[in-house]
């Protein structure tokens, strides 16, 4: 009896969390995607460095929207209701398969520039001290 109850509980749990998992990962969308709103309000822009044209409440922002472009200033292009908009990355949860540029400096006091690899975390992917500043 206990085994049946445990199996039923397991099945029910899996059944209940399945949509949530699907939502978070947007497995239905291939490639890069905006998973949903992160901020209470999401601004939509008409260009990567353009003007704000609309602001959506977080619950009005569509989930699992494919990212159709990324600008050097990190803005993400999405298509919402047939119109292309740009959104600021900090306002949304997103999945980006491509590499983000590493953020590194060759000492704040020096002007020397370093070429870097790619990483997601602050300082990750940066050359280690003493390595001569070369990119791994």
């Amino acid at each position: 009896m206990k085994a049946v109850f445990a199996a039923a509980t397991l099945f029910a749990t899996a059944f209940l969390i399945q949509p949530a998992l699907a939502d978070d990962t947007c497995s239905s969308v291939k490639g890069d995607a905006v998973l949903g709103a992160r901020a209470p309000e999401v601004d939509l822009y008409d260009g990567a460095d353009g003007k704000r044209v609309q602001t959506l409440k977080d619950d009005a922002f569509p989930r699992c929207t494919p990212i159709t472009g990324r600008a050097p200033n990190m803005m993400l292009r999405v298509n919402i209701n047939g119109t292309d908009y740009w959104v600021a990355p900090h306002m949304v949860k997103y999945h980006f398969a491509g590499n983000l540029p590493a953020v590194c400096r060759n000492l704040a006091m020096g002007g020397e520039q370093e070429k870097v690899g790619s990483t997601r975390g602050l300082g990750e992917g940066c050359p280690k001290p003493g390595s001569g500043g070369t990119t791994p």
Binding site: D49, R52, P89, C104, A108, M109, K128
Partner: protein, 495 residues
């Protein structure tokens, strides 16, 4: 009747001139031994006061500031300055690399600035201080986005400060009127025109339409007053804040800034002492003291735990370090650095010292004393003790002159006596150092503002060792016709 007296006066004058030109060394020596205490005191006090107040050749200023730099690099920065403020402040920095990475030429549109501020707001900071001036009118359709951002900060309950332009004409807005109308809080970012930034303003211009008689504070002091009411600001408006610079860079900075060399300089104590005096550039910190949030990382919008730690609950200064923009100054511990770090360091000092930063003034009984006056007062006990010890030695030597000469076999004893005679001069230095440390601990006076006491004490001790005040007393007294010591007078009489 008049002629003889005139002749006598002339003779006296001639004799005086003769003594002045060709003084009798023996007479001078005997008169020197009888120099009074008051003369030694007045002589030393006059010399000290001149040295401290008149600042000959800029010596006092140079000594003060040089000492402050060495103290920052050698003692306070690496060993004593605590991390209290460090843990509560960050700097979100736009530098040339940021512009290059984001392909966003400077100046950014108001919309881009608003997005950056919004990205900061998303990290839930305690407050944000914008060290970028938004004063010049320019055509930019995205201005409403920045105006709206002010509203978002208000709704989130996060204080947002904008730097105002202190050079605008009276009656003109220190930032764009639209931002003022949105309720932006404006602060005065003026820094002192110093080659190396060692001090920070207490007062600033009022920029929020305050009444004419209102006294407003400078940027860091305003932010501190607003955010740290539990430890109220206790600064004297007649003085300046003496900045104490930390040198131990934030570990997060080390993580992403030290590429070819580590931010943490592994320099031993004795080597640090040597370099601080002879090659300060070698001990200057390569990375800023305050935690830095690179703005491009912020704009990536990834869930980076480092960024969250650096921003959440902290006072975040948002500023730029851009080539060609005259917003940099020289710090004693970093060299050339963006001015936003100076405001951050000033706030760090205020937090660390709980609203009572080191200053160049102190208040005694409701009266403000500047650092020169403080130093003159501090040197008085040193002079009193030095003068007393010196007179005591002089009298002992004077008595010795009248006794039989010492036997040649007592050379060691003589040497020991000489050493002991000069050893007490070192006591003057210890006394001055003690007075200075007491001033720091009791009244929050910076080392820069009492170090002159030590230097002057050393000078006084050196002067007393060669007997300058008593030699001058002996000469002047001799020229004025002073009476030689009794023993010599007796010898002259018997001859």
């Amino acid at each position: 009747m008049g002629e003889p007296s005139l002749q006598t006066a002339r003779e006296r004058l001639e004799q005086t001139l003769k003594r002045a030109r060709r003084p009798d060394k023996e007479a001078m020596e005997s008169l020197r031994m009888r120099a009074p205490f008051w003369w030694v005191f007045v002589f030393l006090f006059t010399f000290s006061t001149y040295q401290i107040i008149m600042n000959p050749f800029g010596f006092s200023d140079l000594v003060q500031r040089y000492t402050q730099d060495v103290s920052d690099l050698l003692i306070t920065g690496p060993y004593l300055y605590p991390d209290t403020g460090h843990e509560q402040i960050s700097v979100a920095l736009v530098d040339d690399r940021t512009l290059g990475e984001l392909q966003m030429p400077w100046p950014w549109s108001y919309g881009a600035q608003a997005r950056t501020l919004d990205a900061l707001l998303a990290e839930k900071p305690r407050a944000v201080v914008v060290d970028i001036l938004f004063v010049d009118p320019r055509k930019d359709d995205t201005l409403p986005e920045l105006v709206d951002e002010i509203g978002r900060y208000k709704r989130a309950g996060v204080p947002l400060y904008f730097s105002g332009d202190p050079s605008v004409a009276p009656g003109q807005p220190p930032i764009r009127q639209e931002l003022l109308d949105a309720g932006a809080r404006v602060v005065d970012p003026t820094l002192l025109p110093q080659g190396i930034v060692r001090q920070y303003n207490v007062d600033g211009r009022c920029m929020n339409g305050e009444a004419a008689a209102t006294l407003c504070k400078s940027l860091a002091l305003t932010v501190y007053s607003d955010l740290y009411p539990k430890a109220p600001l206790d600064v004297n408006s007649d003085g300046l804040v003496e900045l104490m610079w930390g040198t131990r860079s934030d570990p997060y900075n080390t993580k992403w800034m030290g590429l070819t060399e580590s931010c943490d300089q592994d320099i031993g104590f004795f080597r640090r002492i040597y370099l601080a005096f002879f090659d300060p550039s070698q001990v200057r910190s390569r990375c800023p003291y305050e935690s830095v949030i690179p703005v491009e990382k912020l704009l990536q919008g990834t869930d980076d735990t480092d960024i969250a730690k650096l921003a959440k609950g902290r006072v975040v200064f948002y500023g730029g370090a851009l080539q060609g923009v005259q917003d940099r100054s020289f710090s004693p511990v970093n060299g050339l650095i963006a001015n936003v770090f100076i405001h951050a360091m000033a706030l760090d000092n205020l937090i660390t010292f709980k609203g009572r930063p080191e200053q160049n003034v102190m208040t005694v009984g409701g009266t403000t004393l500047n650092n020169n006056t403080i130093q003159v007062f501090a040197i008085v006990p040193v002079i009193l003790i030095l003068a007393w010890l010196h007179i005591r030695n002089l009298r002992a030597r004077g008595t010795e002159r009248e006794t039989e000469p010492r036997e040649s076999g007592a050379l060691f004893e003589l040497l020991l006596e000489k050493v002991m005679e000069s050893a007490w001069h070192w006591g003057a230095l210890a006394l001055a150092l003690g007075a200075g440390l007491a001033l720091t601990l009791a009244a929050g006076i910076s080392v820069a503002n009492w170090v002159e006491v030590i230097f002057v004490s050393a000078e006084l001790a050196a002067m007393l060792m060669v007997g300058v005040p008593d030699a001058i007393w002996g000469y002047l007294h001799h020229v004025a016709g002073g009476i030689a010591e009794p023993a010599k007078a007796r010898r002259e009489h018997s001859a």
